[in-house]
């Protein structure tokens, strides 16, 4: 039975979609132009489906990157995914952007080594990143959190692990700034194909999110100031 899953990744400047059949990659489309998500997302989906000769009627699920990341990007991705799922009666899968990057790193090393720690990072403002921690078996050691980068910020992990590998757009900033000697770096771009392992796991476990009430990881509560200036 084919399990065609459409993956949508819009949490950063990259607007990307990919298609998988079960655990296997079929195709991917990427637009790198920032601020183009509202225009490009469904156009990329149409092009990808055509290129792969898949009818949108044959999809079995849609997976969307749940963040963390750009609020606007996440809104475009999640709202579009909800529209497709609602129209087709399809289940919705949510994949953390950081989990996707970590899966990619683990897959590339192909070691399944519990004594290696993987630190995927997404760029936030200034020296801040969004990050989480996974071991080589894919277990989550620390959930998603915001972190201010400092030189020694990951060194305590070496008490538990033999190696630390950082990756993702936020890691590029970390490495460029601190040039750490004890920490390894893997360049991993944000891509919809990063989502394939997690989307497939969710599909097998029927780990779907509620279509109506699902919201992306905003991570921060909105910053609202109320003017208290008196008129009299």
């Amino acid at each position: 039975m084919p399990e065609l899953i459409l993956n949508i990744e819009t949490s950063t400047d990259v607007c990307a979609v990919s298609l998988q059949d079960g655990a296997d990659f079929i195709g991917e489309r990427v637009a790198n132009e920032p601020m183009s998500h509202t225009r490009m997302l469904t156009v990329l989906i149409e092009a990808l489906l055509k290129e792969c000769d898949v009818s949108i009627r044959n999809l079995s699920a849609v997976a969307v990157s749940a963040g963390p990341g750009s609020y606007t990007g996440l809104r475009v991705g999640v709202s579009t995914a909800k529209g497709i799922c609602y129209a087709g009666g399809l289940p919705l899968i949510a994949v953390s952007t950081l989990r996707g990057i970590a899966d990619k790193m683990i897959e590339r090393e192909g070691k399944n080594d519990r004594r290696t720690y993987y630190v995927p990072m997404l760029d936030a403002r200034r020296m801040e990143v969004y990050t989480a921690l996974y071991d080589g078996a894919g277990r989550e050691i620390h959930p998603i959190h915001a972190l201010i980068l400092e030189e020694k910020v990951f060194l305590s992990y070496l008490e538990e692990a033999d190696r630390i590998v950082v990756g993702g757009p936020g890691a590029d900033k970390f490495v460029a700034h601190f040039k750490p000697s004890t920490i390894e770096h893997m360049e991993v771009p944000v891509r919809a194909s990063n989502m394939i392992p997690a989307a497939w796991r969710a599909c097998l476990n029927k780990d779907f999110v509620d279509l109506a009430y699902f919201e992306p990881h905003y991570l921060k509560s909105p910053n609202i100031t109320i003017s208290k200036k008196s008129l009299f």
């Binding site: 509202t38 225009r39 490009m40 997302l41 469904t42 156009v43 989906i45 149409e46 949108i56 009627r57 609020y71 606007t72 809104r75 475009v76 999640v78 709202s79 579009t80 995914a81 909800k82 529209g83 497709i84 799922c85 609602y86 129209a87 087709g88 279509l211 109506a212 009430y213 919201e215 992306p216 905003y218 909105p222 609202i224 109320i226 008129l231 009299f232």
Partner: protein
């Protein structure tokens, strides 16, 4: 075959969905957001988050009430703008995804044009050409409506909109947001005993900023002598500011009727829900021999039924958009 249109409105702080069949509204469901009240205005980030949580249940309920399934839809109409970008993005993206999966056309709708289309929802409809006074939180316009999609704006506000005038006056009196309906309610218990100047703007354009300043000075002056002035006189103050806003609107509308010779007159937009404006327009209509058209209250404030009605006219004209469409926060007509 029936024409079934799903319409989605998410331009500000209400998530609304409606179903239209062959020009008749079958359902109109609106999820209003109350989270903004304590901030004294719409908080864009909160509005966008609420749309995300409301969009599916709202669409689902609209379909259910209409007894229509998604597979029976002929097209999806959506508000493209103007409005808050973060809010529009949710409705536009959802509509695009839905249309893509169903392989049906997308129809973009201009929110302000659609306010006028609320006048086509009731059985009794204006005939062309008619004049429309469109008054909302963001706009104040007089238009000649030559045909459903042929709207000529002949007057507009130079600064604040009429709804804004209500809301800002309310804020000065520390009334909750949006203050328009609150002033309306309080005014019914008062008398317009205080007077405010009529702005001196030639032609059919409006201005409300002078009134805003005059109102603030008036309050400051009285509060200095009596700190409880506002509380003690609230109904009368509300009736007075409401009376002036309504008279500014109607004086311009009367001028437009004289200049154009048109006697078919409608009002639309959130402020057209104002009870004083509604009765004053009826009275004007009687004394000036106008045929007056006032939409039912649920079609005055933001709603998807008006988007559906506009979408229906565009559907018949085959005015479709494609998947590259983006929201337009400042969409100029």
């Amino acid at each position: 075959m029936s024409i079934n249109i799903l319409a989605i409105e998410s331009s500000c702080d209400d998530t609304s969905a409606a179903i239209l069949q062959n020009g008749r509204i079958l359902s109109n469901v609106t999820a209003s957001q109350t989270v903004h009240e304590k901030y004294g205005g719409v908080v864009p980030e909160l509005a966008s988050r609420a749309h995300m949580a409301n969009i599916v249940p709202t669409v689902e309920l609209a379909l259910k009430k209409a007894g229509i399934s998604v597979d029976q839809l002929s097209a999806v109409a959506f508000t493209r703008g103007p409005g808050l970008l973060g809010s529009l993005i949710v409705g536009v993206s959802f509509a695009k995804g839905l249309a893509l999966r169903l392989d049906i056309p997308l129809i973009e709708v201009h929110h302000m044009q659609a306010h006028i289309h609320a006048l086509f929802i009731p059985e009794r409809k204006p005939s062309f050409p008619f004049l429309s006074l469109t008054v909302s939180g963001g706009h104040t316009q007089i238009s000649i409506v030559h045909g459903p999609l042929d709207i000529e704006i002949i007057g507009r506000t130079r600064d604040d909109a009429a709804g804004e005038a209500f809301d800002k006056a309310g804020k000065m009196m520390q009334l909750p947001y949006p203050a328009g309906p609150v002033i309306d309610r309080l005014a019914s218990k008062g008398k317009p005993i205080f007077t405010f100047p009529e702005p001196n703007i030639p032609g059919l354009d409006f201005s409300f900023s002078g009134l805003k300043t005059a109102f603030l000075r008036f309050l400051q002056h009285h509060v200095k002598n009596n700190p409880d002035f506002i509380q003690e006189n609230l109904p009368d103050i509300c009736a007075s500011i409401q009376e002036r806003i309504v008279s500014i609107l109607l004086n311009k509308l009367r001028l437009a009727a004289v200049q154009t010779g048109i006697k078919e007159i409608g009002i639309a937009g959130g402020v057209s829900g104002n009870s004083r404006l509604r009765t004053a327009l009826q009275e004007h209509g009687q004394s000036h021999n106008w045929n007056v058209y006032i939409p039912p209250l649920e079609y005055c404030t933001d709603n998807a039924a008006m988007i559906a009605m506009c979408g229906y006219f565009k559907f018949k004209n085959k005015q479709f958009t494609n998947q590259t469409v983006t929201p337009e926060a400042r969409w100029i007509q």
